[in-house]
């Protein structure tokens, strides 16, 4: 990867936002100065992210593997190294983070209260997310995974809505609670394998023989199961997978607009990314193990939880009267599709691994199902990042102007705000998965990949897809349709210029990804295919 001032681009991606955050904090208290500097900083980081993505696209190894920066010793005592790199999946996530952060910065120009700190926290958050996405070492991964929580906590806690105390505390405790198990699991794995290198662990850790006593007198199977649960719960909370989702509507609902955008757009992806990068490759044997009382394997259980997220998330969204909570529940619904795609990936990866132990390979159509579902899941992560950020931008904008989130108090706003209305419908349709826009491609791929594998579960999930339509239409109807609520007749509800500038790139990306998905899918696909080709001989 290309160097920047002698540092590798990945380290720059991590440290530049943090240093810029520091710079912003040290600036004299002029809100416009802070806004401009932060925007410029996030644009620079964004440009590097874009460059990283396209460099990967040009220089990717044929097997879709990593482009790495040389590893630097770090925490040698426990065997951790400062080891960074990207493959297609992480390149897509880096790109997403790089794009969304400047837009969030732009939108947070609406913040008048302590703008400097607010803006600096957004940059700090970017550091956390970038760190996770480029980490190739488990300790580095964990470090930044935790780091990303802190700025988000303060954003909600300090700049949030009326119930911000409750929401931020719930968010923090829930997330910390999840990562505690993950820390434990990380240590377990590091201790057992003697390394924190993710690729090495993925190759060696599943191969640890089950009969060999390793750790604290427990069998390997128990150790693996414990480690699995540590990761599984942590990432389930973050995605969020039903029933670990109740922190999300509160946090999203109360967070300031930029916070919601990044929370939904980027932070949820950390969880899904954790599944792709860690949980699936580390635990193929656990995924296909049966859960005794239920009589199904772990991957199927995961698919069932995903299905519940899709269906119940859609119902819950439909039942909301708070615009931001409605959009928040739509994330539960949409991330359910990511989860179901990951469940297919996990199951077939597990089966492929098991077959590889006896020297055979997965049937070609099963492998194709797995690849398509995984492609769909990763693309859905990217797409949900775009559409949920755009939805929160609009919902936050209208909240900022009307000071209410109760959709029953809106009504007929389209006539006051024609541009807002058109963009609201466009974004809603992207969120709904209208063919021609981005969400459809990924949902189709997930459904295509999952249907032959989890037939009944996919069939039931279609109820959720149906109700996606219902809550989206409910949102459009209550905000835009009907005669204007004359309470707003003297308000200016139209999108402001900086909001328009912020949402325009999102709309363009939604349309382009819907029409020509291959601009990003080739990159994702090469790495996803690479992950499975390990067992294809």
């Amino acid at each position: 990867m290309f160097p920047i001032f002698g540092f590798d681009a990945f380290s720059v991606l991590i440290f530049a936002p943090a240093l810029f955050a520091l710079l912003v904090l040290l600036l004299p208290s002029n809100k416009w100065l802070a806004r401009i500097v932060t925007l410029a900083a996030s644009l620079i980081v964004g440009a590097i992210a874009v460059a990283v993505f396209f460099t990967y696209q040009q220089q990717a190894p044929a097997d879709g593997g990593y482009l790495v920066a040389p590893a630097v010793p770090w925490f040698e005592l426990i065997g951790a190294t400062w080891h960074l790199g990207v493959d297609g999946v992480s390149a897509a996530m880096v790109l997403l983070t790089g794009i969304l952060t400047p837009l969030a910065v732009l939108v947070s120009w609406e913040v008048e209260d302590r703008p400097k700190t607010h803006l600096a926290l957004l940059l700090l958050f970017e550091t956390g997310c970038m760190g996770v996405f480029v980490a190739m070492d488990l300790m580095v991964f964990f470090l930044f995974y935790e780091l990303s929580l802190v700025p988000m906590y303060f954003l909600i806690n300090q700049w949030g809505g009326p119930k911000r105390e409750y929401a931020s505390t719930k968010f923090m405790i829930y997330s910390i609670g999840g990562t505690l198990g993950m820390l434990l699991a990380t240590q377990l794995i590091g201790f057992s394998t003697g390394t924190f290198d993710i690729a090495t662990i993925a190759a060696t850790w599943p191969q640890l023989a089950a009969d060999q006593p390793v750790f604290l007198g427990m069998s390997v199977a128990t150790v693996k199961a414990l480690a699995f649960i540590g990761f599984f719960v942590a990432f389930c909370i973050k995605v969020p997978v039903w029933p670990f989702h109740t922190w999300l509507p509160d946090a999203h609902g109360e967070a300031p607009t930029a916070g919601s955008m990044l929370l939904a757009g980027v932070m949820l992806k950390l969880g899904a990314y954790g599944f792709v990068r860690l949980v699936v490759p580390f635990f193929p044997d656990v995924w296909i193990a049966n859960i005794p009382l239920l009589g199904i394997n772990v991957a199927t259980m995961f698919a069932i939880l995903a299905m519940l997220g899709i269906v119940l998330g859609a119902f819950a969204a439909y039942g909301q009267n708070d615009i931001k909570r409605l959009v928040a529940y739509s994330s539960v619904n949409h991330m359910g599709f990511v989860a179901i795609g990951l469940a297919v990936m996990a199951l077939l990866y597990g089966q492929a691994w098991e077959l590889a132990q006896t020297g055979s390979v997965l049937a070609a159509d099963a492998a194709q199902n797995a690849i398509i579902a995984t492609n769909g899941a990763v693309l859905q992560m990217f797409n949900h990042g775009l559409s949920s950020a755009a939805m929160f931008l609009l919902a936050g904008g209208i909240y900022h102007k009307t000071h209410t989130r109760d959709i029953r108090e809106y009504g007929g706003l389209w006539v006051k705000a024609p541009v807002f209305g058109a963009i609201f419908i466009f974004t809603s349709m992207a969120s709904l998965g209208l063919p021609g826009l981005n969400g459809f491609v990924s949902e189709f791929l997930v459904v295509r990949g999952a249907f032959p594998v989890f037939t009944v579960i996919t069939l039931i999930s279609m109820i959720g897809l149906l109700f996606t339509g219902n809550y989206i239409l409910k949102g459009v109807r209550t905000v835009l349709h009907g005669p204007l609520n004359m309470h707003w007749k003297d308000y200016n509800l139209e999108l402001e210029r900086h909001e328009l500038v912020a949402i325009a790139p999102l709309m363009a990306l939604m349309l382009i990804t819907g029409l020509v998905p291959n601009w990003i899918l080739t990159v994702i696909n090469s790495s996803v295919t690479g992950i499975f080709s390990v067992f294809m001989g």
């Binding site: 505390t169 405790i173 910390i176 609670g177 999840g178 505690l180 089950a210 199977a221 128990t222 693996k224 199961a225 414990l226 699995f228 649960i229 029933p243 109740t246 509507p249 656990v286 193990a289 859960i291 005794p292 119940l312 119902f315 819950a316 439909y318 039942g319 909301q320 194709q368 690849i371 398509i372 492609n375 389209w414 006539v415 024609p418 349709m429 209208l434 063919p435 021609g436 459809f440 189709f444 791929l445 295509r448 249907f451 032959p452 996919t458 069939l459 109700f467 339509g469 239409l473 109807r477 009907g482 005669p483 204007l484 998905p517 291959n518 899918l521 080739t522 090469s526 295919t529 080709s533």
Partner: protein, 792 residues
């Protein structure tokens, strides 16, 4: 790949480009409005309570530019499409040879990428002839019809997108692109049905349309995914032109339902048919279509004729070999999807016709007739009458577009009459010399309805310009509309020999009869139900024309009805499309005359039935249809039902036209209860609210209140409370212990504890503990159980 748009292989890409570009240009550039006081504005007959609030109204130059851009887009499509159609008809072995090209679209795994492309073959050539023509007529019509609307520019943007989506669907070479057009059209119909979104009936109808079709669409999506999983492709040519793929599909047991003897092709087929049931408004998903007339009338024409509902039937025509795979309806072997189509189609044809009989809204009659006619096509497809269905699709599109626009013209005339009637009674009204609409030469849109502003709101809402009971005698007021309406109506009624509707309907009945004579049950069912439905169609069409145009004017607005003067641009743009479509509604049927039909056969089909011979080539290698030998019986039945229905309607509504204040004779014949039941659509709306809407709202509430807040959050809060209690207990214990032991350091510890506990909300530690304990408990359980298994 060199792209050369002179080559017919690349030309299909350009078919939808014109309208899509028009949509972009209008939305981004030419749709400009300036605020005007709302007091003088009407949104589709509805006046929102805005007072003099400033609301955006499209400026005159924006209207003119948007109209120009929109129409240019369609004209471009028309030229490209017709060039393709004429090249196609002149191409030898067209069908085996097709025009098309594709690009890599989606890389999946290491296999070749998913191809996205376009295709022109005989089947969609027929569509490419019809769709742009009908759409162009609708666009021209919209110039006049929407001239007073404050949002005319937006309207042109949306119908351009609508047209672009339909054309995309038509030229698609794979099911996925077809689905893209399908859904974008769904969006456009949603936006256009709800175009006058201030009106609650409008946005409710829009939501209903979108939701109902989405029920079907998600299942169709599943069908597409399944088909893709089974065949590894969605390309029409690769699947449908390939007997090996079809055989494999028919031979493979279906997922999930394989136990019922269903093949993969069968299950895929059922999913896709359900998609069409939603889109083409077949029972039980037909409820959205009658409500869809809440949109402006050009939209109704678009939905009912040129685009939306036709797309449903077109999709089935397109994918027909999948439905028929493993069966042969011509020899009495029916697959599950075919049976489903035959039964649903035949039932819907008759069911909708019964409701049409009792409607009083001029557009509602047409809406039910659309449902019924689509049922004809569906049933025809179910019994293997592929060509007949395609033929009826085309002829129906022409006469139904004509009828809808003519009915819009009737409504417009009635609205004018209403204004005039008011003028008459209250000449003192009117602002700043509001012009008499009859003399309004100017196309300055907003001024024209201006004089209307001061009317009492009650007056304008009490009168329903769409209610046929308020009409009568319009044939003398709007003769052009009358004659064209009559032409379209006779075609719908299937008036023998000289109308297009006759030829296509007759062909369906002929095919059904052929199967009946061989003893196939579904054919017999279809034949009987369609014959009865055809009779009712003829009857209610004559009832409609009689009520609308015949006799004397029954109300004052009808007395004064008119489209404006001869030189009025509104009047002209609304009548021109009617005149253009009339010859098609009458004579388009001659392209599909059976060869051995007496006299007509020798004139129009000297070698063979031209339409059939052309379209059949689409499916050359996989399906073979023998031309049924000419049989007098179905032809006589066609004659009898059409003429019988027409005669009955003529006797009841033309000979003795309804007089003012008189009751519809239907009420006496049917009895009040049955009449009301029909008019209320068998109360199915109410039933659906009870069965689906209310339960889903209830479930939504429960998921929020009971599951999320009740169970999940209560458990969290409950554990939190438990630890608060433990914490308090410890505190009390400590206090007691500490008090017993002494002061000093212990007091400091206590204070520190209190400070910690009070940090933030005081709940931080509680939650932390909760999650920790929960994680540990779950962890132990999982570890024990999962560990036990992996150890085995």
């Amino acid at each position: 790949m060199m792209v050369d748009f002179n080559s017919v292989d690349f030309l299909p890409w350009l078919v939808p480009v014109g309208p899509l570009l028009a949509f972009l240009i209008i939305s981004l550039a030419t749709n400009r409005a300036k605020p005007e006081p709302a007091s003088s504005l009407v949104y589709g007959g509805f006046r929102p309570p805005y007072g003099d609030l400033g609301v955006p109204v499209a400026t005159s130059w924006s209207r003119i530019l948007s109209i120009t851009v929109g129409i240019s887009g369609v004209v471009m499509s028309l030229l490209v499409s017709w060039r393709l159609v004429f090249t196609a008809t002149a191409t030898k072995d067209f069908g085996e040879v097709v025009f098309g090209s594709s690009v890599d679209w989606l890389s999946l795994g290491s296999l070749p990428a998913f191809q996205m492309g376009v295709l022109v073959d005989p089947l969609n050539s027929a569509m490419l002839f019809m769709v742009p023509l009908a759409v162009l007529c609708i666009f021209i019509y919209s110039i006049g019809y929407m001239a007073h609307d404050p949002r005319q520019s937006r309207f042109f943007a949306l119908i351009s997108l609508f047209a672009g989506a339909m054309l995309t669907l038509v030229v698609a070479d794979n099911l996925l692109l077809l689905f893209v057009g399908w859904e974008v059209m769904g969006l456009c119909s949603y936006l256009l049905i709800g175009f006058w979104y201030e009106k609650d009936t409008a946005y409710k109808a829009a939501i209903k349309a979108f939701t109902t079709t989405r029920v079907a669409d998600v299942l169709m999506l599943l069908g597409i995914a399944y088909l893709y999983a089974e065949t590894g492709t969605l390309s029409f040519r690769e699947i449908l032109y390939n007997p090996a793929v079809l055989e494999a599909l028919a031979g493979k047991e279906a997922l999930l339902f394989g136990g019922f003897g269903l093949s993969a092709a069968g299950l895929i087929g059922i999913f896709l048919v359900i998609g069409t049931i939603g889109k083409s408004a077949q029972f039980p998903l037909h409820l959205w279509l009658p409500d869809a007339m809440q949109g402006p009338t050009p939209v109704s024409a678009m939905i009912h004729a040129a685009a939306m509902v036709s797309a449903g039937i077109y999709a089935i025509l397109r994918m027909y070999p999948v439905f028929a795979a493993g069966g042969d309806p011509h020899h009495g072997i029916f697959t599950a999807p075919l049976l489903l189509m035959a039964v649903v189609g035949a039932f819907t044809a008759l069911f909708a016709a019964t409701m049409a009989v009792a409607q009083n809204d001029v557009k509602a009659v047409l809406a039910y007739s659309t449902i019924s006619q689509l049922g004809f096509m569906m049933a025809a497809l179910g019994i293997g009458a592929y060509i007949a269905a395609a033929f009826h699709l085309i002829t129906h599109a022409f006469f139904k577009a004509l009828l809808f626009m003519a009915s819009g013209s009737v409504i417009h005339a009635m609205e004018h009459g209403e204004h005039h009637a008011h003028e008459h009674h209250a000449p003192a009204h009117g602002i700043g010399g509001g012009a008499d609409p009859h003399d309004a030469h100017s196309h300055d849109a907003h001024a024209e309805h201006g004089h209307d502003a001061h009317h009492d709101a009650h007056d304008s809402h009490a009168f329903d310009p769409q209610d046929m009971r308020n009409m009568g005698g319009l044939d003398k007021k709007i003769p052009v509309t009358y004659w064209t309406f009559l032409a379209g109506g006779l075609s719908l009624a299937g008036f023998p020999l000289i109308t297009a509707g006759f030829w296509s309907k007759d062909e369906i009945l002929a095919d059904a009869w052929l199967g009946t004579t061989e003893g196939f049950g579904p054919h017999a069912l279809v034949f009987v139900m369609l014959a009865v439905a055809a009779f009712m169609t003829a009857f209610y069409t004559m009832r409609q024309i009689g009520l609308t145009f015949k006799g004397e004017a029954r109300t004052e607005p009808a007395q004064h009805a008119g489209l404006g003067g001869q030189y009025d641009i509104i009047s002209q743009t609304m009548q021109l499309p009617l005149i253009i479509l009339t010859p098609f509604a009458l004579f388009a049927g001659f392209v599909g005359v059976p060869k051995d039909f007496p006299i007509f056969g020798s004139i129009f089909a000297s070698e063979h039935n031209p339409f059939k011979y052309f379209v059949i080539e689409s499916l050359h290698p996989v399906l073979h249809f023998e031309a049924p030998a000419f049989n007098w019986f179905p032809v006589l039945v066609s004659f009898a039902v059409a003429l019988g229905g027409i005669y009955l309607g003529y006797r009841m509504y033309w000979v003795k036209p309804l007089k003012a204040g008189e009751e519809d004779p239907m009420i006496k014949i049917l009895g009040g209860d049955l009449y009301t039941t029909l008019q209320r659509r068998y109360y199915m709306d109410e039933l659906y609210v009870l069965l689906f809407v209310q339960p889903s709202q209830w479930i939504s509430r429960q998921v929020n209140e009971f599951v999320d807040k009740g169970i999940i959050d209560s458990v969290l809060h409950g554990i939190a409370r438990f630890f608060t209690w433990v914490g308090d207990l410890t505190k009390v214990l400590n206090a007691w212990l500490i008090d017993g032991v002494g002061d000093g350091i212990p007091r400091w510890i206590f204070q520190a504890g209190g400070w910690l506990r009070g940090a933030q909300t005081g709940k931080v530690q509680q939650y932390l503990l909760v999650v920790l304990i929960a994680a540990v408990v779950i962890g132990v359980i999982f570890a024990l159980t999962a560990g036990a298994v992996t150890a085995q």
